[in-house]
Symmetry: C2
Subunit: 243 residues, 2 copies
């Protein structure tokens, strides 16, 4: 079923009008009277609607059922990724959204080659949020994950540390596995932190450990900076019983 994201305010109780990009999209799809569509507020609530009128002026819908979206994960996973070169972050944002991430936060670290300035960051953030929205729609999610930027590595670490399970992945860690960390007690919120192309510096890893993050391995193979967060997120969703 086609899924449109609207604002919370637009999700009226009885009748709805498609506007802007949604209207244009609906025209491309040639929606007809009587067809059913889903309208989601991007925060976990959705309305099952029936198309009641298609005219040159617009497309109106009747709300049949208002309900919680059934496709959100039971746990909230925040994915903290270091700035990286090229379109790798875009890739991570798209895939992490599909895989059910609650939010995605990008942060600078010592070995980051990519260091966008404030202006380009603002543009990037808008683009990233659009990528997350498109991936949420395509994967049938009821929530669009927030994409945000941390000002410093320290800020990323202190925010990540608030989760029930706060985990940093480090290629030089061999003894502590993600499994050991996840199986030591219940959790509802998880933070996963991974480094840039050149990896995190030992001092950064110790800073995170001191802030309370568990330092874990992702296996004996070196994963690229765009592969590591998605591998970790997949494993956490599996461990949490999502599939």
């Amino acid at each position: 079923m086609t899924r449109f994201f609207v604002t919370k305010e637009e999700l009226q109780p009885n009748f709805l009008l498609l506007t802007g990009e949604n209207l244009a999209h609906a025209r491309v799809l040639r929606l007809k009277n009587g067809e059913q569509v889903l309208l989601c507020d991007g925060e976990g609530t959705e309305c099952l609607c029936t198309v009641s009128d298609v005219s040159a002026n617009g497309i109106s819908l009747v709300v049949m059922e208002r309900r919680d979206s059934g496709t959100e994960a039971k746990i909230s996973v925040s994915v903290y990724v270091a700035f990286s070169k090229g379109d790798k972050l875009e890739h991570v944002i798209q895939k992490a959204t599909e895989l059910g991430a609650y939010e995605i936060a990008a942060f600078p670290s010592a070995r980051c080659v990519s260091r966008p300035d404030a202006k380009s960051l603002q543009k990037k953030l808008e683009r990233w949020q659009k990528i997350a929205a498109a991936a949420a729609e395509q994967s049938g999610r009821g929530r669009i994950p927030a994409v945000r930027v941390c000002e410093s590595y320290g800020q990323a670490v202190s925010q990540a540390a608030k989760a029930d399970k706060a985990i940093l992945f480090y290629e030089n860690e061999q003894a502590t596995t993600l499994k050991m960390t996840l199986e030591a007690g219940e959790f509802a919120t998880v933070s996963l932190l991974t480094g840039p192309e050149g990896g995190l510096e030992p001092g950064e890893v110790e800073q995170a450990r001191a802030a309370g993050l568990a330092v874990c391995t992702l296996g004996r193979r070196i994963l690229r900076c765009e592969t590591a967060p998605l591998c970790a997120l997949s494993a956490v969703m599996y461990a949490a019983g999502e599939f």
Copy 2:
């Protein structure tokens, strides 16, 4: 440490010469006398070597230690993916190699839009094998996963069925999880089968079930055809205690 892949025959017991692409690569890296490098036969054996001579004629190495590569997964996972459009298969091959796949097999299915002919397939296979080799080198693997093509969906299914755990992922399956399937008994070999952009047809799913594959969900979100195999592979590696 820099890692070069050579043939099994080239991995001599005492002395070695770098040739071809490896020699060119070593010159770019400006290898010097006394430096240590790893030479792998791509089948799980590696030699720790010391550079003994760098000259215009070549680079020679002394073998210090011959050993099993320590970076291969303890389980063998075969990743069966349907032909897909664009460079999605290349993406899956690169990432599945990083994540430790034993082999990657591409197959045709009813809804595949991409149907390469024999000639273009031969070219693609060569390219795919190179991508796997590069990813194996970069991720520090001791083995280059084989990349191969199944002639038909039926062939893919009957080959996949031979594994201890043979699993097909289907978006309309809700009850059977990967976790239930993996936790029902020990396993050393796993096959993971995922469909093309348009999904597998119900008849194809039943064909696989009849051949003995377990039909599982990957969660309540719809994953893209290039995301599903990597999500499943990550989860299987996690479940097998790799990280």
